[in-house]
């Protein structure tokens, strides 16, 4: 039954056909963890959408001076794509129950994510070194805030990654880590999409 049908049910009438109605009380055919992650991604998406809306609202005024985006950001983007791809490979390995593949690709994914974060810091440093402080101009402020927020979310992802890693090194079976790997991968792809959106937004101003 789809959601709408469920909401149209007349609960007082089901008195007689109870047996049919005894299905498990789940609304979606989805595991709890996956649904939890999806709800969380929606929340994060609202955060970033509101920030982007604020950015666009501000940008339309004539006194907007765009930040010269450091070329390093391009490199960082590529690294983040690598990170996502590696996580994806880890997930594929997990599905094929290849624990070695999971370990290797998880390492790679985490490593690239860390490199990305360091790259972002270098990009900040470059901007600050050439005088683009956050306080100088709204465009700079937005740049620092958006990248910082994205970075914080990635750091949160690394915490989850670290816990998964711990499970793998502790020798938990593939079956036990499979769901964690999948959740990390989805989150990684999501953060990649967010980054691409932010980057595109800042690029086309």
């Amino acid at each position: 039954m789809n959601l709408l049908q469920q909401l149209m049910e007349k609960p007082w009438l089901t008195e007689d056909n109870t047996v049919v109605e005894l299905r498990d009380g789940r609304t979606f055919a989805l595991s709890r963890e996956k649904l939890g992650l999806r709800v969380f991604l929606v929340v994060v998406m609202v955060v970033f959408s509101l920030m982007m809306a604020a950015y666009i609202e501000r940008k339309v005024f004539s006194d907007w001076h765009s930040v010269p985006l450091p070329w390093l950001l391009w490199l960082n983007t590529v690294i983040l794509v690598f990170s996502s791809l590696a996580m994806h490979r880890a997930w594929i390995s997990a599905r094929r129950t290849e624990i070695d593949g999971v370990r290797v690709w998880l390492y790679a994914g985490g490593f690239f994510a860390l490199v990305f974060l360091i790259g972002q810091l270098l990009a900040w440093w470059e901007l600050v070194a050439s005088g683009y402080y956050a306080a100088v101009d709204p465009a700079n402020a937005f740049f620092f805030m958006l990248t910082a927020l994205h970075g914080v979310h990635l750091i949160g992802g690394l915490v989850a990654w670290w816990r998964t890693m711990a499970k793998v090194t502790r020798g938990c079976g593939v079956v036990l880590v499979r769901i964690s790997v999948e959740l990390c991968t989805v989150y990684w792809h999501f953060l990649l999409l967010i980054w691409l959106a932010l980057f595109a937004l800042m690029l086309f101003t």
């Binding site: 909401l7 049910e9 007082w12 109605e21």
Partner: protein
């Protein structure tokens, strides 16, 4: 009745999904302090919320003393007054009501009422509480930093919130923003639990439309909160940047006290949009759980099914959805494009229709019922009266042109106190009297409860009704003192003094309530498992208070909705949700009371 459930192995098909493994505490610390049991977390949330709420209550006395007797209390300076209103408003709305309804009632009731052993992510749920506690402590810390807490009003509008001239612009405002951000992070963790538990962890047979309305209210409020709090979060982060790093997200070019400030290019209105994109749904974050809970109180104590259940559910969903497209009714005179007024006035008044339907259905539930005037029922009636009153004044403020003379007057203060102060608090009280027996196994003292109700209800009405009329007169809100104002007659001051006296009386009555809780917890009459003879699952637990895992070895199986009151062909006037259909005529009463005892409890 418990046996009845277990005998049905031939009748009930096997579960499709295996039960989750339950976390079992290993030490005293993990059982009572860092507990992952939603019931313990609920109690932790509730006590913290009520404790900080008492601070807000005391602050309101201070404010009322100043308003009632402006020259008398020299220790309340203008700075203090503005700090008091800010902290009072923010604490009441966020740290008391939101935390209590969702963190407190949500945690306690969701697993029990949907027939789950616990929340789906217990560890995250535990973190949620501890982060909330940290948020409360950071908020309290702002009372002790130089300059004190922020006095920017609970709306925290920039630019003044972070500029000198406003109390607490030194450190208080930053602590407030940090505390809010923490609260939101903590809430999100809890919120994920509430949503996923309701959607995916219901027991067998508990279809969406068999859920008690309490769960619907809390569920929808959580969804709203998850989608609305990000706006406050974004606003708070941006304002923290403005305050600490000197960025100009919300700060235009400003010349203050003869000095040019370094800011430039930001938009104060942008913050207002962000704030109210959160702030209006926030009203419903507080109201929807109250709607849900009061529906159940009315139904149980009127011994009648809720009238128009489906419409009640749809109304909750529709109100929730509409609440995201009305936010700018708080900004009619903010200087935003005045043409927005047409749109937002229309959407706002449209929300009144599903809301009115809810009111009708509550009253129609009483109609042809069998009404027991228990203490929870009294509070439910008190809720209807104050909510209708407050809802009606909302139609004044929502109708854009009527809002123009009334905005930022005492009328607004009276309106939102009726609708999101008094009315939800009535529900909180009613709910505590209602579920106290389940949480402790004892009934609360009834005469004390009745006295508490009458003083609180009549008192609150007498406090806030006249304030509307001061608003018509043009008395502004957030005024430390009225000084000499030509159009305000002497009698307005007498009225203010009267209101202040009533506030103190009502405040004293709350102490009686706390006393009642304390005494009843130890010495209250034993309640039995189901003193109100109610149908929903929390009353059918094998133990009272419910043990770890809530239900016995097998989870209950649900056969009907939560409103089977007054069924013609059943032994009792209530049929528990998990009573097998072939048991309707058996002796299934589990109230633990004889009928006359139930009468006496009334």
């Amino acid at each position: 009745m418990v046996d009845a459930v277990q005998d049905q192995d031939d009748f009930v098909p096997p579960a499709e999904v295996a039960e989750m493994e339950l976390y079992h505490p290993k030490s005293w610390l993990t059982k009572y302090v860092f507990s992952q049991d939603a019931k313990v977390i609920a109690i932790q949330y509730s006590f913290t919320a009520i404790a900080i709420g008492l601070v807000a209550l005391v602050l309101s006395w201070m404010m009322r003393l100043q308003l009632g007797f402006p020259e008398t209390f020299s220790f309340i300076e203008a700075e203090d007054y503005y700090q008091f209103i800010t902290m009072h408003g923010m604490i009441m709305v966020i740290y008391l009501l939101t935390a209590l309804f969702l963190g407190g009632f949500g945690n306690y009731l969701i697993p029990l009422m949907v027939g789950a052993r616990d929340m789906v992510f217990p560890y995250v749920n535990m973190l949620s509480y501890w982060i909330y506690l940290a948020a409360v402590l950071v908020l309290l810390a702002s009372f002790f930093v130089p300059g004190g807490p922020t006095g920017a009003g609970w709306t925290l509008y920039p630019p003044q919130a972070i500029l000198p001239g406003t109390p607490g612009s030194e450190g208080g405002i930053v602590l407030m923003l940090v505390s809010l951000a923490l609260f939101i992070v903590g809430f999100t963790m809890g919120g994920l639990n509430y949503v996923v538990t309701v959607l995916q962890a219901r027991t067998r047979g508990m279809t969406l439309m068999r859920l008690p309305l309490t769960i619907w209210g809390i569920f929808m409020a959580t969804v709203l909160a998850l989608l609305a709090f990000p706006a406050l979060f974004v606003g708070a982060v941006m304002m923290t940047f403005d305050s600490l790093l000197g960025t100009s997200f919300f700060m235009p070019a400003i010349s203050q006290f003869g000095e040019q400030l370094k800011y430039g290019g930001g938009s104060p209105i942008l913050f207002q949009h962000l704030f109210w994109f959160f702030g209006h749904p926030e009203v419903y974050i507080v109201a929807l759980p109250a709607f849900g809970i009061v529906s159940d109180l009315i139904s149980v104590h009127a011994r009648r099914h809720i009238f128009g259940y489906r419409l009640m559910v749809w109304a909750i969903v529709i109100i929730g959805a509409l609440s995201f497209i009305v936010w700018a009714h708080h900004m009619y005179v903010s200087g935003m494009n005045p043409y927005f007024g047409f749109f937002f006035a229309t959407t706002t008044l449209i929300i009144a229709i599903p809301t009115a339907i809810k009111v009708y259905n509550w009253v129609l539930t009483l109609w042809r019922g069998n009404i027991q005037l228990t203490v929870p029922m009294l509070f439910a009636i008190g809720f209807i009266v104050t909510f209708v009153n407050g809802g009606i004044t909302g139609l004044f403020l929502g109708n854009v042109v009527v809002d123009v003379p009334l905005s930022d007057t005492m009328f607004v203060v009276a309106h939102f106190h009726m609708v999101m102060g008094v009315a939800p608090i009535m529900v909180v009280f009613g709910a505590i009297y209602h579920w106290f027996p389940k949480m402790t196994g004892r009934l609360m003292n009834v005469p004390m409860g009745q006295f508490h109700f009458w003083v609180t209800f009549v008192g609150a009405y007498a406090i806030f009704l006249p304030l509307h009329y001061l608003g018509f007169l043009g008395v502004p809100r957030r005024y430390y003192a009225m000084l000499d104002t030509g159009f305000i007659p002497e009698s307005a001051q007498d009225l203010n003094a009267f209101v202040t006296v009533v506030v103190l009386i009502v405040g004293a009555a709350q102490m009686l309530f706390l006393y009642n809780i304390a005494v009843s917890m130890i010495k209250g009459k034993k309640s039995g498992p189901n003193p109100w003879r109610a149908t929903s699952l929390e009353w059918q637990t094998p133990q009272t208070p419910p043990g770890h895992g809530n239900f016995g070895p097998t989870l209950p199986v649900v056969y009907r909705w939560a409103y089977a009151y007054g069924l013609p062909d059943a032994t009792e006037d209530y049929v528990p949700q998990n009573l097998a259909p072939d048991q309707l005529m058996s002796d299934y009463d589990n109230s633990g009371l004889s009928h006359s005892a139930a009468q006496a409890a009334e």
